[in-house]
């Protein structure tokens, strides 16, 4: 992206949507969250017919700041290559909404929020949430914004899971759906990596059984290790090798356990910067929500049944050749189920050696295909 493009301002708004206690979020577990707060950002302008809204669903550790500048880190939004004027999700054409997921830690009610019943942070007394609960909270927000039908719901990774859940639960409330580098269920390997992360957090003495906020401490070491392990899964072997190889931090080995290799230093940095912006309990809750996700199981074990009502949704799925976290075979299963359900499904596997994180990076084929898919769907929908 050129500087000229970055300089073009995006009409940005948002805030926190507060739901009255008589409008609780009903969770899959049977619990309810009263006084739900949903933090969100919008980009672009809603047209008069309210037909140009695009909901973006964020991944595990991301947030509602897709474009513009992040207020706390000062960095560009996490999808500023994709969302903006003239970009694939064109804020000159679409009204983009992104909200922090329930259970998150960027303003939406989560384990770090204050429990109105006790006046203390929830900690582990926060109820378990699921991907369907996240989607239900988003649907409440969209309704509160007075939008009857979204033009599109778009998301990568965990965001893609939410897209699939949207199609299953609210097919009449979306016109198009885009799921990128995602899956309809968590595999054993996915669950295994998450369990390593959770155990690292819980093994930190400062976790204090989840009650660290009351003690005024944070399980930073545990959360950093969790992030380091997870970060490896977001990259391909080829990408790591290209970026770092066996390059050393300084001349010669330390003959000790300092970060001799650049890859070690990089991971330590990833871990350290992550703990500044993320809550450890949120990490436990959201990874659990992903592990519990199994869209077929919600529909008698038949994935096609999940999409039975979504036949009119224009679907597009993307995967990356080097993504071993959510490999192409997972996206293919989704597409096969969509075909079996008679839905309008498209699918592209993009050649990339950047691993799972490719969906956040400069991938021209993805960007061109996404732009083409949305523009042509917009034409059918009557968007100018």
């Amino acid at each position: 992206m050129s500087d000229g493009e970055t300089a073009r301002s995006i009409e940005e708004a948002g805030g926190v949507m507060r739901f009255a206690a008589d409008k609780p979020l009903r969770l899959d577990s049977g619990a309810r969250i009263e006084g739900l707060e949903v933090a969100y950002r919008t980009y672009g302008r809603l047209n008069e017919a309210k037909s140009n809204a695009v909901l973006i669903c964020h991944a595990l550790t991301l947030d509602q700041h897709v474009a513009g500048r992040h207020p706390t880190t000062g960095k560009p939004g996490w999808w500023s290559l994709v969302v903006g004027p003239g970009l694939p999700i064109d804020t000159d054409r679409y009204f983009v909404i992104c909200s922090n997921v329930v259970g998150g830690c960027q303003g939406t009610t989560g384990p770090a929020s204050i429990d109105p019943a006790t006046g203390e942070p929830y900690g582990l007394s926060f109820p378990m949430v699921t991907i369907a609960d996240m989607v239900r909270a988003q649907a409440m927000l969209v309704e509160a914004l007075d939008i009857e039908q979204l033009f599109a719901v778009v998301g990568g990774s965990m965001g893609g899971m939410q897209v699939l859940q949207w199609a299953a639960d609210y097919p009449e409330r979306l016109y198009a759906a885009v799921s990128i580098a995602s899956a309809a269920r968590h595999s054993a390997q996915n669950i295994a990596f998450h369990e390593v992360g959770r155990q690292a957090v819980m093994a930190d003495p400062d976790w204090r059984g989840g009650g660290y906020a009351r003690a005024g401490v944070r399980p930073e070491k545990g959360l950093a290790v969790a992030r380091m392990a997870a970060h490896i899964t977001y990259l391909s072997e080829a990408a790591l090798q290209r970026k770092f190889g066996r390059e050393l931090q300084r001349d010669g080995l330390s003959w000790g356990f300092d970060a001799d290799f650049q890859v070690e230093s990089y991971l330590r940095h990833q871990g350290a910067s992550f703990v500044d912006r993320f809550d450890a309990n949120s990490y436990l809750y959201i990874t659990r929500a992903m592990d519990y996700f199994d869209l077929a199981a919600q529909h008698g074990g038949v994935l096609a049944e999940a999409f039975r009502r979504a036949r009119d949704v224009r679907f597009c799925a993307f995967s990356f050749t080097s993504d071993w976290l959510y490999p192409t075979s997972e996206s293919r299963q989704v597409v096969q189920a969509l075909n079996a359900a008679g839905a309008r499904a498209s699918f592209v596997e993009i050649v990339s050696d950047k691993g799972h994180d490719a969906f956040l990076l400069d991938e021209p084929v993805l960007h061109a295909a996404l732009a083409g898919f949305l523009r042509s769907a917009g034409q059918v929908r009557g968007l100018s």
């Binding site: 075909n339 699918f347 050649v351 295909a369």
Partner: protein, 220 residues
């Protein structure tokens, strides 16, 4: 790219409003043509990411995949027509692909270059090299065709699989298509390229397609 001569014939053949799967749909020219002229509910299967990407920009629903392995995942009798335009010689297992087409759809429309055409035979006979003709434009080392066949070979495979040839046309490089008897020995010399409308033998299609268009052409 100029429109391939078989697309016009396929468009004539397909009944309005039907469900069509185009296998090996490329950049989606045929699906777009069928969408605008016959208001079909079209889907595509295409092996290249670039092709699928171009289809997405045209608003088509296309899945990236391989005819040899990915037809298996389409539900049985989900389409009125499955189209395989000039792609059969490029698949690894033509016999499997052909029978899959007629599992997925009630009718298959298959077009293919005829290796029995007189010019192909003459070319090979006189030059001793793999023929390069209008229907087979690429040299042997560049072509994707790995299973070339003659019209007689193809009708033999249809017999083998118990398929019925409902109609057949010869496609010429200039001028309109003409109906032909695919089993006539002369046609195996005359047709540069051939188009077949196939159904499963014995059982008539259960899902009734809309009545034929008023102005029926070749296959009316």
């Amino acid at each position: 790219m100029t429109q391939r001569e078989d697309f016009r014939e396929i468009a004539r053949l397909v009944r309005p409003g039907s469900r069509v799967l185009d296998v090996g749909c490329g950049e989606g020219e045929l699906l777009e043509l069928l969408g605008t002229e016959k208001t079909v509910d079209g889907r595509g299967l295409e092996i290249s990411a670039e092709g699928v990407s171009a289809c997405l920009a045209r608003g088509l629903a296309v899945v990236q995949g391989d005819a040899d392995s990915d037809l298996d995942y389409f539900p049985t009798r989900a389409f009125d027509y499955a189209v395989l335009s000039q792609t059969l010689p490029q698949v690894r297992n033509p016999r499997h692909v052909l029978s899959e087409l007629l599992r997925i759809a009630d009718r298959a429309i298959v077009s293919l270059p005829n290796f029995g055409h007189w010019r192909v035979r003459l070319d090979l006979l006189l030059s001793g090299k793999m023929p390069v003709t209008h229907s087979l434009p690429q040299p042997w080392w560049a072509t994707g065709n790995i299973h070339l066949c003659t019209v007689r070979d193809f009708t033999g495979l249809c017999d083998d699989l118990g398929l019925t040839i409902e109609a057949c046309a010869a496609l010429a490089e200039d001028g309109p298509a003409r109906p032909m008897d695919p089993k006539h020995w002369l046609e195996n010399w005359r047709a540069a390229s051939a188009l077949f409308l196939l159904t499963r033998g014995g059982q008539p299609p259960v899902v009734a397609a809309p009545a034929p268009a008023a102005k029926a052409d070749l296959f009316g």
